[in-house]
């Protein structure tokens, strides 16, 4: 995986059912990406949080998933390793009828703040 153990580390997995999991992650303040985003001002790139959601969905399903569509992804607060060292990544999946993809609803938040909400369709095969 692109970011697991490089940008974040999973502290705890709470698998509510095979299609719904909440991953408690720690953001790694020494992650390489902060050299460039931004120099002397570390801010989590929104796209890294999107990738983190995908990786949590892959951990939940045990499958490689492709981001076919993101219907909507709202970045509602600026996340940094200082502001939110620990985050809950809540991933809920609904299989589409032919079994080729999942509808995903995900949220990244801590006790006080929601940082990201995402709705999309992640496919099991890139070609579908």
């Amino acid at each position: 995986m692109l970011l697991k153990d490089k940008f974040y580390r999973v502290q705890q997995e709470n698998i509510l059912n095979p299609l719904h999991g909440v991953y408690l992650i720690a953001l790694l303040p020494d992650a390489d990406v902060y050299r460039g985003h931004f120099p002397h001002k570390p801010v989590c790139p929104g796209v890294c949080n999107i990738e983190t959601i995908r990786e949590c969905a892959e951990m939940l399903t045990g499958k490689k998933l492709f981001m076919k569509t993101i219907k909507q992804c709202r970045l509602t607060a600026v996340a940094t390793p200082q502001v939110c060292p620990l985050l809950d990544v809540d991933v809920m999946l609904t299989p589409v009828q032919d079994g080729s993809a999942y509808i995903i609803q995900a949220r990244i938040a801590d006790a006080e703040t929601t940082y990201m909400e995402l709705k999309g369709e992640f496919s099991i095969n890139m070609d579908k």
């Binding site: 990406v33 931004f38 219907k71 709202r74």
Partner: protein
């Protein structure tokens, strides 16, 4: 004086080190190589997908968020360009929302991305943009985005 003092926006070119004047991102997450043209509310940018790119996965293809970041930084370069030609510093922009993103194919190492950004009007520091990325004329991704700009 800044290069933007030239009269012909459509022949403007920022590449290599010059692109750093337009965007605040730095290595390892610089995802635009060049701003190749600006014409009114539309610009074109380019990126060569190289080995070692931050978003290249184990299967040697680019992760979809890499395409989102490339499109966001393309819009950022466009916004930066508009400031630089006025003699102002390039703004720092944050993605506020990604909407209707589609990935049709993940780019591979060696692919040459060409992206067209259409910039909407700015309202209260929020700009809506549309981006489309192609490789050899084939659309690999498209999206809409809301971008927040911070004045610092």
């Amino acid at each position: 004086m800044v290069r933007g003092a030239l009269a012909f926006d459509n022949v403007m070119l920022y590449q290599g080190e010059e692109i750093k004047k337009l965007i605040p991102q730095r290595d390892p997450i610089m995802m635009v190589d060049a701003l190749v043209s600006v014409d009114g509310d539309i610009c074109k940018t380019e990126l060569n997908v190289r080995e070692g790119n931050f978003f290249i996965e184990d299967d040697l293809l680019m992760s979809e968020p890499g395409l989102i970041e490339h499109i966001a930084q393309s819009a950022s370069a466009f916004a930066g360009y508009r400031c630089v030609v006025k003699g102002e510093p390039a703004p720092v922009g944050y993605i506020g929302e990604v909407k209707k993103f589609h990935c049709y194919r993940r780019p591979a190492i060696g692919d040459h991305l060409t992206t067209t950004i259409t910039m909407g009007a700015e309202v209260n520091g929020i700009t809506i943009i549309a981006g489309e990325t192609t490789v050899d004329g084939e659309v690999v991704a498209d999206t809409q985005m809301k971008i927040f700009t911070a004045d610092e």
